[in-house]
Symmetry: C2
Subunit: 191 residues, 2 copies
Amino acid sequence: MSKQHILEAAAQIFSQKGYHATSMQDIANAVDLKKASLYHHISSKQEILLALLDRALDMVIEQVSDALRIDAPYPDKLRRAMYTYLETLVENSALSAVLLLEYRSLEAQQFTNHVARRDRFERLWRDLIQAGVDEGIFRCHAPGQATRALLGMMNWTITWYRPDGPSTPQEIADQYAGLLLNGFLTREVAQ
Amino acid sequence: MSKQHILEAAAQIFSQKGYHATSMQDIANAVDLKKASLYHHISSKQEILLALLDRALDMVIEQVSDALRIDAPYPDKLRRAMYTYLETLVENSALSAVLLLEYRSLEAQQFTNHVARRDRFERLWRDLIQAGVDEGIFRCHAPGQATRALLGMMNWTITWYRPDGPSTPQEIADQYAGLLLNGFLTREVAQ
DNA sequence: CTCTCCCTACCGACCGGTCGGTAGGGAGAG
DNA sequence: CTCTCCCTACCGACCGGTCGGTAGGGAGAG
Protein backbone atom coordinates (compact mmCIF):
# COMPACT_ATOMS: atom_id res chain seq x y z
CA MET A 1 0.00 0.00 0.00
CA SER A 2 1.28 3.38 -0.92
CA LYS A 3 0.17 6.96 -0.91
CA GLN A 4 0.13 6.84 -4.71
CA HIS A 5 -2.37 4.06 -4.68
CA ILE A 6 -4.60 5.99 -2.32
CA LEU A 7 -4.36 9.13 -4.43
CA GLU A 8 -5.26 7.23 -7.58
CA ALA A 9 -8.25 5.61 -5.95
CA ALA A 10 -9.36 8.93 -4.53
CA ALA A 11 -9.13 10.61 -7.93
CA GLN A 12 -11.47 8.02 -9.38
CA ILE A 13 -14.05 8.46 -6.67
CA PHE A 14 -13.78 12.24 -6.44
CA SER A 15 -14.30 12.46 -10.18
CA GLN A 16 -17.44 10.36 -9.99
CA LYS A 17 -19.07 11.56 -6.80
CA GLY A 18 -17.37 14.85 -6.14
CA TYR A 19 -15.06 15.62 -3.24
CA HIS A 20 -17.72 16.31 -0.63
CA ALA A 21 -19.86 13.32 -1.48
CA THR A 22 -16.82 11.07 -1.13
CA SER A 23 -16.08 9.78 2.35
CA MET A 24 -12.82 8.53 3.69
CA GLN A 25 -14.59 5.21 4.13
CA ASP A 26 -15.26 5.18 0.37
CA ILE A 27 -11.57 5.63 -0.29
CA ALA A 28 -10.62 3.02 2.29
CA ASN A 29 -12.97 0.54 0.67
CA ALA A 30 -11.43 1.23 -2.72
CA VAL A 31 -7.93 0.36 -1.50
CA ASP A 32 -8.97 -2.48 0.83
CA LEU A 33 -7.87 -0.82 4.03
CA LYS A 34 -9.71 0.20 7.12
CA LYS A 35 -10.35 3.88 7.24
CA ALA A 36 -8.02 4.44 10.18
CA SER A 37 -5.17 2.97 8.20
CA LEU A 38 -5.40 5.63 5.55
CA TYR A 39 -4.03 8.09 8.08
CA HIS A 40 -0.73 6.30 8.15
CA HIS A 41 -0.22 7.39 4.57
CA ILE A 42 -2.00 10.72 4.37
CA SER A 43 -2.81 13.28 6.97
CA SER A 44 -6.20 14.48 5.81
CA LYS A 45 -8.82 14.44 3.13
CA GLN A 46 -7.78 17.91 2.13
CA GLU A 47 -4.20 16.73 1.63
CA ILE A 48 -5.52 14.25 -0.90
CA LEU A 49 -7.39 16.91 -2.80
CA LEU A 50 -4.45 19.27 -2.85
CA ALA A 51 -2.07 16.56 -3.99
CA LEU A 52 -4.40 15.61 -6.84
CA LEU A 53 -4.91 19.18 -7.98
CA ASP A 54 -1.19 19.91 -7.89
CA ARG A 55 -0.46 16.77 -9.82
CA ALA A 56 -3.13 17.51 -12.41
CA LEU A 57 -2.00 21.06 -12.94
CA ASP A 58 1.67 20.05 -13.17
CA MET A 59 0.66 17.47 -15.73
CA VAL A 60 -1.25 19.78 -18.06
CA ILE A 61 1.30 22.56 -17.72
CA GLU A 62 4.10 20.18 -18.63
CA GLN A 63 2.27 18.61 -21.54
CA VAL A 64 1.10 21.84 -23.10
CA SER A 65 4.44 23.58 -22.50
CA ASP A 66 6.18 20.74 -24.35
CA ALA A 67 3.72 20.95 -27.20
CA LEU A 68 4.30 24.68 -27.51
CA ARG A 69 8.01 24.16 -27.98
CA ILE A 70 7.62 22.82 -31.50
CA ASP A 71 8.89 25.06 -34.21
CA ALA A 72 5.88 25.38 -36.48
CA PRO A 73 3.51 27.96 -37.91
CA TYR A 74 1.10 29.34 -35.37
CA PRO A 75 -1.97 27.54 -36.63
CA ASP A 76 -0.13 24.21 -36.42
CA LYS A 77 1.21 25.10 -33.05
CA LEU A 78 -2.30 25.83 -31.84
CA ARG A 79 -3.57 22.56 -33.25
CA ARG A 80 -0.74 20.73 -31.60
CA ALA A 81 -1.35 22.30 -28.21
CA MET A 82 -5.08 21.67 -28.40
CA TYR A 83 -4.57 18.07 -29.35
CA THR A 84 -2.05 17.59 -26.57
CA TYR A 85 -4.27 19.18 -23.98
CA LEU A 86 -7.28 17.19 -25.01
CA GLU A 87 -5.30 13.98 -25.14
CA THR A 88 -4.00 14.71 -21.65
CA LEU A 89 -7.50 15.41 -20.33
CA VAL A 90 -9.01 12.24 -21.69
CA GLU A 91 -6.07 9.96 -20.89
CA ASN A 92 -6.30 11.13 -17.31
CA SER A 93 -10.02 11.63 -17.11
CA ALA A 94 -10.42 11.20 -13.37
CA LEU A 95 -7.59 13.56 -12.51
CA SER A 96 -8.81 16.04 -15.09
CA ALA A 97 -12.34 16.04 -13.73
CA VAL A 98 -10.97 16.70 -10.27
CA LEU A 99 -8.83 19.51 -11.64
CA LEU A 100 -11.66 21.21 -13.46
CA LEU A 101 -14.57 20.60 -11.09
CA GLU A 102 -13.31 20.04 -7.58
CA TYR A 103 -10.85 22.89 -6.95
CA ARG A 104 -13.72 24.83 -5.35
CA SER A 105 -13.47 22.48 -2.38
CA LEU A 106 -9.95 23.59 -1.49
CA GLU A 107 -9.61 25.54 1.71
CA ALA A 108 -9.06 29.26 1.33
CA GLN A 109 -5.28 29.63 1.22
CA GLN A 110 -4.78 26.61 -1.01
CA PHE A 111 -7.58 27.78 -3.24
CA THR A 112 -5.94 31.12 -3.80
CA ASN A 113 -2.60 29.48 -4.61
CA HIS A 114 -4.24 27.02 -6.93
CA VAL A 115 -6.14 29.66 -8.87
CA ALA A 116 -2.96 31.68 -9.34
CA ARG A 117 -1.23 28.63 -10.82
CA ARG A 118 -4.18 27.83 -12.99
CA ASP A 119 -4.13 31.36 -14.30
CA ARG A 120 -0.53 30.86 -15.35
CA PHE A 121 -1.61 27.85 -17.35
CA GLU A 122 -4.18 29.98 -19.11
CA ARG A 123 -1.44 32.43 -19.85
CA LEU A 124 0.34 29.84 -21.97
CA TRP A 125 -2.62 29.84 -24.32
CA ARG A 126 -3.12 33.53 -24.27
CA ASP A 127 0.52 34.15 -25.08
CA LEU A 128 0.27 31.77 -28.01
CA ILE A 129 -2.74 33.55 -29.44
CA GLN A 130 -1.20 36.93 -28.77
CA ALA A 131 2.00 35.90 -30.56
CA GLY A 132 -0.05 34.81 -33.56
CA VAL A 133 -1.81 38.15 -33.54
CA ASP A 134 1.49 40.02 -33.31
CA GLU A 135 2.72 38.15 -36.36
CA GLY A 136 -0.44 38.97 -38.25
CA ILE A 137 -1.44 35.32 -38.52
CA PHE A 138 -4.33 35.57 -36.12
CA ARG A 139 -6.83 38.39 -36.08
CA CYS A 140 -8.35 38.78 -32.72
CA HIS A 141 -8.82 41.91 -30.67
CA ALA A 142 -9.49 40.10 -27.44
CA PRO A 143 -6.95 37.29 -27.01
CA GLY A 144 -8.07 36.85 -23.42
CA GLN A 145 -11.58 36.19 -24.54
CA ALA A 146 -10.46 33.83 -27.28
CA THR A 147 -8.42 31.98 -24.67
CA ARG A 148 -11.46 31.57 -22.46
CA ALA A 149 -13.50 30.35 -25.40
CA LEU A 150 -10.80 27.85 -26.33
CA LEU A 151 -10.39 26.56 -22.82
CA GLY A 152 -14.15 26.47 -22.35
CA MET A 153 -14.73 24.18 -25.27
CA MET A 154 -11.77 22.01 -24.31
CA ASN A 155 -12.54 21.81 -20.63
CA TRP A 156 -16.20 21.06 -21.20
CA THR A 157 -15.23 17.86 -22.98
CA ILE A 158 -14.88 16.27 -19.54
CA THR A 159 -18.65 16.37 -19.23
CA TRP A 160 -19.37 14.43 -22.39
CA TYR A 161 -16.32 12.66 -23.77
CA ARG A 162 -16.41 8.88 -23.61
CA PRO A 163 -13.53 6.68 -24.81
CA ASP A 164 -16.01 4.49 -26.65
CA GLY A 165 -17.56 7.48 -28.40
CA PRO A 166 -17.38 8.00 -32.15
CA SER A 167 -14.53 10.52 -32.16
CA THR A 168 -10.90 10.22 -31.12
CA PRO A 169 -9.20 13.00 -29.22
CA GLN A 170 -7.24 13.79 -32.39
CA GLU A 171 -10.44 14.19 -34.37
CA ILE A 172 -12.07 16.34 -31.75
CA ALA A 173 -9.02 18.53 -31.37
CA ASP A 174 -8.83 18.95 -35.15
CA GLN A 175 -12.46 19.90 -35.37
CA TYR A 176 -12.19 22.36 -32.51
CA ALA A 177 -9.03 23.90 -33.88
CA GLY A 178 -10.73 24.14 -37.25
CA LEU A 179 -13.66 25.94 -35.69
CA LEU A 180 -11.43 28.42 -33.94
CA LEU A 181 -9.16 29.01 -36.90
CA ASN A 182 -11.62 29.00 -39.77
CA GLY A 183 -15.06 29.30 -38.23
CA PHE A 184 -17.95 27.57 -39.87
CA LEU A 185 -19.35 30.38 -41.90
CA THR A 186 -18.89 29.58 -45.57
CA ARG A 187 -16.53 31.80 -47.54
CA GLU A 188 -19.21 33.19 -49.85
CA VAL A 189 -21.23 34.42 -46.91
CA ALA A 190 -18.22 35.88 -45.13
CA GLN A 191 -17.41 38.16 -48.11
CA MET B 1 -41.76 32.32 4.23
CA SER B 2 -42.32 30.47 1.05
CA LYS B 3 -40.87 27.60 -0.83
CA GLN B 4 -39.70 30.07 -3.47
CA HIS B 5 -37.66 31.91 -0.93
CA ILE B 6 -36.05 28.71 0.24
CA LEU B 7 -35.26 27.64 -3.31
CA GLU B 8 -33.68 30.99 -4.09
CA ALA B 9 -31.55 30.90 -0.98
CA ALA B 10 -30.54 27.33 -1.71
CA ALA B 11 -29.53 28.19 -5.26
CA GLN B 12 -27.18 30.85 -3.95
CA ILE B 13 -25.51 28.54 -1.50
CA PHE B 14 -25.38 25.51 -3.78
CA SER B 15 -23.74 27.63 -6.44
CA GLN B 16 -21.06 28.80 -4.03
CA LYS B 17 -20.37 25.69 -1.99
CA GLY B 18 -21.81 22.89 -4.09
CA TYR B 19 -24.76 20.74 -3.18
CA HIS B 20 -22.97 18.30 -0.91
CA ALA B 21 -21.02 20.93 0.98
CA THR B 22 -24.26 22.78 1.68
CA SER B 23 -26.18 21.68 4.73
CA MET B 24 -29.82 22.15 5.49
CA GLN B 25 -28.63 24.26 8.43
CA ASP B 26 -26.88 26.59 5.96
CA ILE B 27 -30.12 27.01 4.08
CA ALA B 28 -32.12 27.51 7.27
CA ASN B 29 -29.68 30.20 8.38
CA ALA B 30 -30.04 31.96 5.05
CA VAL B 31 -33.83 32.22 5.38
CA ASP B 32 -33.93 32.81 9.12
CA LEU B 33 -35.71 29.61 10.05
CA LYS B 34 -34.76 26.70 12.16
CA LYS B 35 -33.69 23.75 10.14
CA ALA B 36 -36.68 21.66 11.11
CA SER B 37 -39.01 24.35 9.83
CA LEU B 38 -37.70 23.98 6.33
CA TYR B 39 -39.49 20.65 6.18
CA HIS B 40 -42.83 22.34 6.36
CA HIS B 41 -42.11 23.78 2.94
CA ILE B 42 -39.99 21.15 1.29
CA SER B 43 -39.74 17.45 1.79
CA SER B 44 -36.04 16.89 1.27
CA LYS B 45 -32.75 18.34 0.18
CA GLN B 46 -33.01 16.39 -3.02
CA GLU B 47 -36.38 17.99 -3.75
CA ILE B 48 -34.66 21.35 -3.59
CA LEU B 49 -32.00 20.30 -6.04
CA LEU B 50 -34.48 18.83 -8.45
CA ALA B 51 -36.71 21.88 -8.32
CA LEU B 52 -33.75 24.14 -9.04
CA LEU B 53 -32.50 22.05 -11.93
CA ASP B 54 -35.96 21.83 -13.47
CA ARG B 55 -36.42 25.54 -13.13
CA ALA B 56 -33.03 26.31 -14.61
CA LEU B 57 -33.51 24.02 -17.57
CA ASP B 58 -37.03 25.34 -18.23
CA MET B 59 -35.58 28.83 -18.14
CA VAL B 60 -32.80 28.29 -20.67
CA ILE B 61 -35.01 26.21 -22.95
CA GLU B 62 -37.65 28.93 -22.97
CA GLN B 63 -35.20 31.75 -23.53
CA VAL B 64 -33.26 30.09 -26.30
CA SER B 65 -36.39 28.76 -27.98
CA ASP B 66 -37.80 32.28 -28.06
CA ALA B 67 -34.57 33.63 -29.50
CA LEU B 68 -34.62 30.99 -32.21
CA ARG B 69 -38.04 32.10 -33.37
CA ILE B 70 -36.74 35.28 -34.94
CA ASP B 71 -36.85 35.38 -38.70
CA ALA B 72 -33.28 36.21 -39.58
CA PRO B 73 -30.31 34.82 -41.52
CA TYR B 74 -28.68 31.91 -39.80
CA PRO B 75 -25.59 33.75 -38.63
CA ASP B 76 -27.74 36.40 -37.00
CA LYS B 77 -29.96 33.77 -35.52
CA LEU B 78 -26.95 32.06 -34.02
CA ARG B 79 -25.66 35.35 -32.61
CA ARG B 80 -29.06 36.05 -31.15
CA ALA B 81 -29.34 32.66 -29.52
CA MET B 82 -25.84 32.85 -28.10
CA TYR B 83 -26.42 36.28 -26.69
CA THR B 84 -29.71 35.21 -25.18
CA TYR B 85 -28.23 32.12 -23.61
CA LEU B 86 -25.29 33.98 -22.18
CA GLU B 87 -27.48 36.75 -20.87
CA THR B 88 -29.70 34.16 -19.23
CA LEU B 89 -26.72 32.42 -17.64
CA VAL B 90 -25.22 35.57 -16.18
CA GLU B 91 -28.50 37.13 -15.09
CA ASN B 92 -29.26 33.98 -13.16
CA SER B 93 -25.75 33.06 -12.20
CA ALA B 94 -26.58 31.02 -9.12
CA LEU B 95 -29.24 28.96 -10.85
CA SER B 96 -27.00 28.51 -13.87
CA ALA B 97 -24.09 27.28 -11.79
CA VAL B 98 -26.37 24.75 -10.14
CA LEU B 99 -27.65 23.67 -13.56
CA LEU B 100 -24.22 23.19 -15.03
CA LEU B 101 -22.26 21.86 -12.07
CA GLU B 102 -24.59 20.21 -9.59
CA TYR B 103 -26.77 17.89 -11.66
CA ARG B 104 -24.33 15.12 -10.84
CA SER B 105 -25.74 15.08 -7.34
CA LEU B 106 -29.19 14.04 -8.46
CA GLU B 107 -30.28 10.58 -7.50
CA ALA B 108 -30.25 8.01 -10.27
CA GLN B 109 -33.73 8.21 -11.74
CA GLN B 110 -33.87 11.97 -11.59
CA PHE B 111 -30.40 12.17 -13.06
CA THR B 112 -31.41 10.11 -16.05
CA ASN B 113 -34.51 12.24 -16.62
CA HIS B 114 -32.55 15.42 -16.27
CA VAL B 115 -29.87 14.38 -18.72
CA ALA B 116 -32.51 13.45 -21.29
CA ARG B 117 -34.05 16.91 -20.97
CA ARG B 118 -30.68 18.58 -21.14
CA ASP B 119 -29.94 16.67 -24.31
CA ARG B 120 -33.09 18.09 -25.84
CA PHE B 121 -31.81 21.56 -25.04
CA GLU B 122 -28.59 20.74 -26.86
CA ARG B 123 -30.69 19.58 -29.77
CA LEU B 124 -32.00 23.12 -30.22
CA TRP B 125 -28.50 24.27 -31.00
CA ARG B 126 -27.62 21.31 -33.09
CA ASP B 127 -30.73 21.73 -35.18
CA LEU B 128 -29.86 25.37 -35.74
CA ILE B 129 -26.39 24.55 -36.94
CA GLN B 130 -27.67 21.67 -39.04
CA ALA B 131 -30.25 23.93 -40.67
CA GLY B 132 -27.52 26.43 -41.52
CA VAL B 133 -25.51 23.61 -43.05
CA ASP B 134 -28.48 22.39 -45.06
CA GLU B 135 -28.91 25.88 -46.46
CA GLY B 136 -25.27 26.06 -47.39
CA ILE B 137 -24.63 28.95 -45.00
CA PHE B 138 -22.61 26.95 -42.52
CA ARG B 139 -19.95 24.48 -43.48
CA CYS B 140 -19.49 21.91 -40.82
CA HIS B 141 -19.33 18.14 -41.16
CA ALA B 142 -19.90 17.45 -37.48
CA PRO B 143 -22.74 19.65 -36.21
CA GLY B 144 -22.86 17.65 -33.01
CA GLN B 145 -19.24 18.46 -32.34
CA ALA B 146 -19.73 22.10 -33.18
CA THR B 147 -22.65 22.16 -30.79
CA ARG B 148 -20.54 20.78 -27.98
CA ALA B 149 -17.82 23.31 -28.72
CA LEU B 150 -20.36 26.12 -28.68
CA LEU B 151 -21.97 24.99 -25.46
CA GLY B 152 -18.58 24.36 -23.91
CA MET B 153 -17.38 27.88 -24.41
CA MET B 154 -20.72 29.31 -23.30
CA ASN B 155 -21.16 27.09 -20.28
CA TRP B 156 -17.60 27.61 -19.09
CA THR B 157 -18.33 31.30 -18.68
CA ILE B 158 -19.90 30.45 -15.33
CA THR B 159 -16.42 29.77 -13.99
CA TRP B 160 -14.97 33.15 -14.85
CA TYR B 161 -17.63 35.72 -15.69
CA ARG B 162 -18.04 38.54 -13.20
CA PRO B 163 -20.66 41.32 -13.57
CA ASP B 164 -17.96 43.89 -12.75
CA GLY B 165 -15.63 42.46 -15.41
CA PRO B 166 -14.59 44.41 -18.49
CA SER B 167 -16.99 42.78 -20.94
CA THR B 168 -20.77 42.78 -21.12
CA PRO B 169 -22.67 39.61 -22.01
CA GLN B 170 -23.44 41.21 -25.38
CA GLU B 171 -19.76 41.77 -26.07
CA ILE B 172 -18.78 38.28 -25.02
CA ALA B 173 -21.54 36.69 -27.06
CA ASP B 174 -20.51 38.74 -30.10
CA GLN B 175 -16.90 37.74 -29.72
CA TYR B 176 -17.76 34.10 -29.28
CA ALA B 177 -20.16 34.10 -32.20
CA GLY B 178 -17.48 35.83 -34.24
CA LEU B 179 -15.01 33.11 -33.33
CA LEU B 180 -17.38 30.36 -34.31
CA LEU B 181 -18.55 32.00 -37.52
CA ASN B 182 -15.34 33.49 -38.81
CA GLY B 183 -12.55 31.92 -36.82
CA PHE B 184 -9.50 33.95 -36.02
CA LEU B 185 -7.26 32.90 -38.81
CA THR B 186 -6.65 35.85 -41.10
CA ARG B 187 -8.05 35.63 -44.62
CA GLU B 188 -4.62 35.68 -46.35
CA VAL B 189 -3.50 32.69 -44.37
CA ALA B 190 -6.72 30.78 -44.89
CA GLN B 191 -6.35 30.91 -48.66
C1' DC C 1 22.52 -18.51 15.07
C1' DT C 2 19.34 -15.84 18.82
C1' DC C 3 17.65 -11.84 20.77
C1' DT C 4 16.49 -7.05 21.23
C1' DC C 5 14.91 -3.02 19.48
C1' DC C 6 12.89 -0.45 16.20
C1' DC C 7 10.00 0.43 12.37
C1' DT C 8 6.15 0.15 9.10
C1' DA C 9 1.66 -0.76 8.25
C1' DC C 10 -2.24 -1.78 9.87
C1' DC C 11 -6.23 -2.49 13.18
C1' DG C 12 -10.50 -1.92 16.44
C1' DA C 13 -12.42 1.26 19.19
C1' DC C 14 -13.50 5.56 19.76
C1' DC C 15 -14.00 10.77 19.51
C1' DG C 16 -16.79 15.12 18.98
C1' DG C 17 -19.41 16.81 15.85
C1' DT C 18 -22.67 17.18 11.82
C1' DC C 19 -25.77 15.34 8.69
C1' DG C 20 -30.78 14.96 6.82
C1' DG C 21 -34.84 14.30 8.68
C1' DT C 22 -39.07 13.29 12.33
C1' DA C 23 -42.44 13.55 16.23
C1' DG C 24 -45.03 16.28 18.79
C1' DG C 25 -46.61 20.58 20.08
C1' DG C 26 -47.70 25.68 20.27
C1' DA C 27 -48.97 30.36 18.54
C1' DG C 28 -51.61 33.22 15.87
C1' DA C 29 -55.02 34.27 12.40
C1' DG C 30 -59.53 33.75 10.80
C1' DC D 1 -62.70 25.53 16.31
C1' DT D 2 -59.24 24.66 11.99
C1' DC D 3 -55.31 25.64 9.59
C1' DT D 4 -50.78 27.38 8.63
C1' DC D 5 -46.35 28.00 9.97
C1' DC D 6 -43.08 27.53 12.96
C1' DC D 7 -40.55 25.54 16.97
C1' DT D 8 -37.99 22.25 20.40
C1' DA D 9 -36.11 18.13 21.15
C1' DC D 10 -34.66 14.48 19.25
C1' DC D 11 -33.12 10.50 16.15
C1' DG D 12 -29.95 7.21 13.56
C1' DA D 13 -26.44 7.47 10.56
C1' DC D 14 -22.45 9.22 9.28
C1' DC D 15 -18.49 12.43 9.04
C1' DG D 16 -13.16 13.25 9.33
C1' DG D 17 -9.99 12.13 12.28
C1' DT D 18 -7.37 10.13 16.86
C1' DC D 19 -5.71 6.75 20.02
C1' DG D 20 -3.52 2.71 21.90
C1' DG D 21 -2.10 -1.34 20.40
C1' DT D 22 -0.39 -5.48 17.45
C1' DA D 23 1.74 -8.29 13.76
C1' DG D 24 5.38 -8.96 11.09
C1' DG D 25 9.73 -7.98 9.55
C1' DG D 26 14.43 -6.16 9.39
C1' DA D 27 18.85 -4.56 11.30
C1' DG D 28 22.42 -4.94 14.37
C1' DA D 29 24.80 -6.81 18.36
C1' DG D 30 26.63 -10.63 20.63
